[in-house]
């Protein structure tokens, strides 16, 4: 797990995304334990409150859940939830801004589609 301390994103968000990435990659399997707040804070040299905030974000979304006295676990279906969420944000961040920029440059949707096709062949 790596955080980019130069990124504009707050660290707790980066941490939540990094854990999601690790779940997608299968490093943290569903129903297996994820690193604790302390482990995350010590390993990444960040404030435990920041680490806790990142983990809680995942708890709120139901990706990770707390087993009392044991620790944090990856929920069943977490992988699918993350994929859905990432698809939606892909649409928001890439597709919408792509279409906006295309409209500004007078590129039609057909041309964009053709460009996508061209890009795929590269």
């Amino acid at each position: 797990m790596r955080l980019d301390f130069n990124s504009e994103k707050p660290i707790y968000l980066q941490l939540a995304e990094a854990i999601e990435d690790d779940i997608l990659k299968g490093i943290f399997e569903e129903e297996s334990q994820v690193a604790s707040t302390t482990e995350l804070a010590v390993t990444l040299k960040i404030n435990p409150a920041t680490a806790g905030k990142g983990l809680n974000l995942l708890v709120d979304e139901g990706i990770v859940y707390k087993r009392r006295g044991v620790g944090m676990f990856v929920a069943t279906g977490a992988k699918e939830m993350i994929l859905q969420k990432r698809k939606e944000s892909f649409f928001q961040t890439y597709i919408l801004s792509l279409l906006e920029e295309a409209a500004k440059l007078g590129i039609s949707v057909e041309e964009v589609t053709a460009m996508l096709e061209r890009g795929r062949k590269k």
């Binding site: 990124s7 707050p10 302390t38 804070a41 040299k45 404030n47 435990p48």
Partner: protein, 287 residues
């Protein structure tokens, strides 16, 4: 719990006011960074908090109890001073035994474990320690003190990169398992920035800022690009820390980035970037 409150605290040396009417509340259970330039009053503030100095005006309380000459209250706080005031002829081990008397919660097994991790020989005399090991020795006593409030003044002075890393990790682990108030006074802002929950910035004896680091960084950004465009972007905004290089200009804007400003920056082909705590500190404390 252990809430520290400074009520209108001043400290004067002749006509110089090292600390000027400081009102400050330090909430329990957080890691604070006390940041300030040389001579800003950091050490004076810590010396007053721990009764090494007496205020000219005002009062400091821990959970409502004045700290002045109050041993019961002072025993709840541990202060790792920048100078090494331990008896020079004592060995490291003897100093640990002695710490146990003043701080009954002192965790000897943990202290000894730390000496192994840092490679500190417990049979060495205090006067034989190098600058780096003198810092390590003091830091170990602070980590193992188990006090409710632990204050570090320049804890990593003279430590090599490996030992600095180890120190920060131990500090975080120790804080995580035994929540306490931690105050770190340091000039090495960059490496401590992500460890801190809140920053307290002191300038010329006054507290100019006390804020969660995350909020602080979210409420500022840098904008850079062609100088005239940066100027037109920055007009009417609260700015600090201007840097110019030929036709290139970079400015720190002390506001939250609004969507309309983000699009304006794009239109002007300017780059928006994150502010680092250290850069923000420099902008805020420059004369």
């Amino acid at each position: 719990m252990s809430t520290i409150v400074f009520h209108g605290v001043s400290k004067a040396y002749g006509s110089t006011r090292a600390l000027d009417n400081v009102n400050l509340t330090i909430e329990p259970g957080k890691i604070y960074g006390l940041l300030g330039r040389n001579g800003a009053g950091k050490t004076t503030l810590l010396n007053l908090l721990t009764n090494r100095l007496f205020p000219t005006d005002g009062e400091i309380r821990l959970d409502g109890q004045p700290v002045l000459e109050n041993d019961a209250v002072l025993g709840r706080m541990f202060y790792m001073m920048e100078e090494n005031l331990y008896p020079p002829r004592f060995t490291v081990k003897e100093t640990f035994n002695w710490s146990k008397i003043f701080y009954p919660g002192f965790d000897m097994p943990y202290a000894l474990e730390l000496t192994k991790k840092f490679g500190l020989n417990v049979n060495k005399r205090v006067k034989e320690l190098s600058t780096g090991y003198s810092s390590i020795f003091k830091a170990i006593i602070a980590l193992a003190s188990n006090a409710e409030v632990v204050i570090y003044d320049e804890p990593v002075l003279g430590l090599d990169a490996n030992h600095r890393e180890l120190f920060y990790r131990e500090l975080i682990a120790n804080y995580s398992t035994n929540p306490k108030t931690v105050i770190i006074s340091t000039h090495l802002i960059e490496e401590v920035a992500d460890v801190l929950e809140e920053a307290i910035i002191i300038k010329e004896g006054q507290i100019i800022l006390k804020q969660p680091v995350e909020d602080l960084l979210a409420r500022a950004y840098t904008v850079s690009g062609e100088a005239s465009k940066v100027d037109s972007f920055a007009e009417g905004k609260k700015c600090a820390g201007v840097q110019t290089m030929g036709k290139f200009k970079s400015v720190t804007v002390l506001e939250e980035l609004q969507n309309k400003d983000a699009s304006l920056a794009r239109e002007l082909s300017l780059d928006i970037g994150k502010v680092e705590l250290q850069k923000l500190f420099i902008s805020l404390t420059n004369a």
